[in-house]
């Protein structure tokens, strides 16, 4: 089993239009590196200066990673990772 990552419309230019792609890794940082190796350019849209981009929210099984270790949040096979643009109530 792999990790399923949902990609928002605005970032699908990096995934050839795919809504959902697979990745691997034990932490969110590893998952993002794994995404970058298959879909170049994604990482720069998600991570800035070593932390999550201000207006990007990432969830592991619906829980916001900012409250679960950020880029070091634990991820396991079978988990769903969801990337979303911040809406009202983003990270500051």
């Amino acid at each position: 089993m792999a990790i399923t990552v949902s990609i928002p419309t605005i970032l699908r230019t990096h995934t050839g239009g795919e809504k959902s792609v697979e990745a691997s890794g034990a932490t969110l940082a590893e998952v993002i590196d794994s995404l970058e190796s298959n879909h170049g350019g994604l990482k720069a849209r998600l991570v800035k200066d070593g932390t999550l981009h201000r207006f990007v929210n990432i969830y592991v099984n619906d829980e916001d990673v900012r409250f679960a270790g950020g880029l070091e949040a634990k991820v396991a096979d079978g988990d769903n990772v969801t990337i979303l643009p911040a809406v009202a109530g983003g990270s500051r």
Binding site: I10, F55, D62, F67, A68, V87, A88, G89, G90
Partner: protein
């Protein structure tokens, strides 16, 4: 005492209801704070009245004034009722994809509605309201996303009521929109019981709502204070609907759809405590009742059908 001099005086002091059937165990308990028992039927009566009274006190609002506010519905309905009783006009900027009941209620109270495009969601309603405020200098925008009186209403009301009724509270779960409920009630609870977990449930909408949003135009309410929160969940329409129905079927509470999303996060928190062998008393907000969403089809047909119908609707 259940006698009040006017409808506005009947605000707050809402019931806290135990949910023995939904609670994971006798030591991990769920409690519903019934905010639909406010004068216009939603938690938004608290911030709406507090913002009006603060503006009256500081002299920005007097009888005959017109109030302007971006709202997805409930705040507008609360403001419309208070404006009617106090002699103000009201203009609401509201996304066009909110339920028809919300529009009808606002119109019944005499409010004027300016619609913002569905695809822009609440963010665009806020942007349009700010633009209208510039063009109409005599209108008073209370601006629930940045008005400290919003969070203060929960700091003075919602938070103390919970601690009074349930001193053993371990978790408080509410919806994340303006962030006023979580920041206000959360701050009060953390000040008095630092170990209390403050958990946000935010709606996750379909493609239509997110589709056009640019990552560089994120909007974060001025009231938001991430230091108050200890957890945050994003809940999609399907889970929100599933939990809304579960609350009705198991405990008899007929709540609106955003409450289903809040319950989903509350159950996730409760199950974490149960798995860790810890006792928990999880309070979550019932933001409004289901009446305003009957026309969306949320309560009829299969869950999949209802979720498909909700796609593109703003339900929180």
């Amino acid at each position: 005492m259940a006698r009040y001099d006017s409808l506005l005086d009947a605000l707050g002091d809402t019931p806290l209801i135990g949910l023995p059937r939904l609670s994971p165990s006798p030591t991990v308990r769920l409690w519903a704070k019934l905010e639909d028992r406010n004068p216009t039927g939603s938690i938004k009566d608290r911030p709406a009245l507090a913002m009006i009274e603060a503006a009256e006190r500081d002299g920005t609002l007097w009888p005959g004034c017109t109030i302007l506010e971006p709202t997805s519905g409930n705040t507008g309905i609360s403001l419309a009722m208070a404006a009617k009783l106090k002699g103000y006009g009201l203009v609401c900027v509201m996304p066009e994809n909110t339920s028809t009941e919300r529009k009808q209620l606002l119109q019944a109270y005499g409010a004027r509605i300016v619609f913002s495009p569905a695809a822009g969601g609440s963010n665009q309603a806020v942007a349009m309201a700010k633009e209208l405020a510039k063009q109409n200098a005599d209108w008073v925008m209370l601006y629930q996303y940045g008005n400290p009186a919003n969070a203060q209403a929960h700091y003075n009301g919602t938070g103390p009521e919970i601690l009074r009724d349930l001193p053993e509270v371990t978790h408080f779960v509410a919806g994340l929109g303006t962030t006023g409920t979580l920041v206000g009630a959360g701050r009060y609870l953390r000040e008095h019981k630092p170990e209390v977990q403050i958990i946000a449930a935010e709606p996750r909408y379909g493609e239509l709502v997110y589709g056009l949003r640019n990552l560089d135009e994120g909007f974060v309410p001025e009231l938001y204070d991430p230091d108050v929160l200890t957890g945050r969940y994003s809940v999609g329409s399907y889970d929100a609907l599933r939990r809304t129905r579960q609350l009705l079927e198991t405990e008899g509470i007929f709540a609106g759809i955003s409450t289903g999303a809040i319950l989903h996060a509350a159950l996730a928190a409760a199950e974490k405590s149960a798995a860790a062998g810890k006792r928990a008393d999880v309070v979550f907000v019932v933001a409004d009742a289901g009446w305003k969403y009957l026309s969306t089809g949320a309560y009829s047909g299969t869950l999949d059908e209802a979720a498909a119908r909700m796609d593109g609707h703003l339900w929180a």
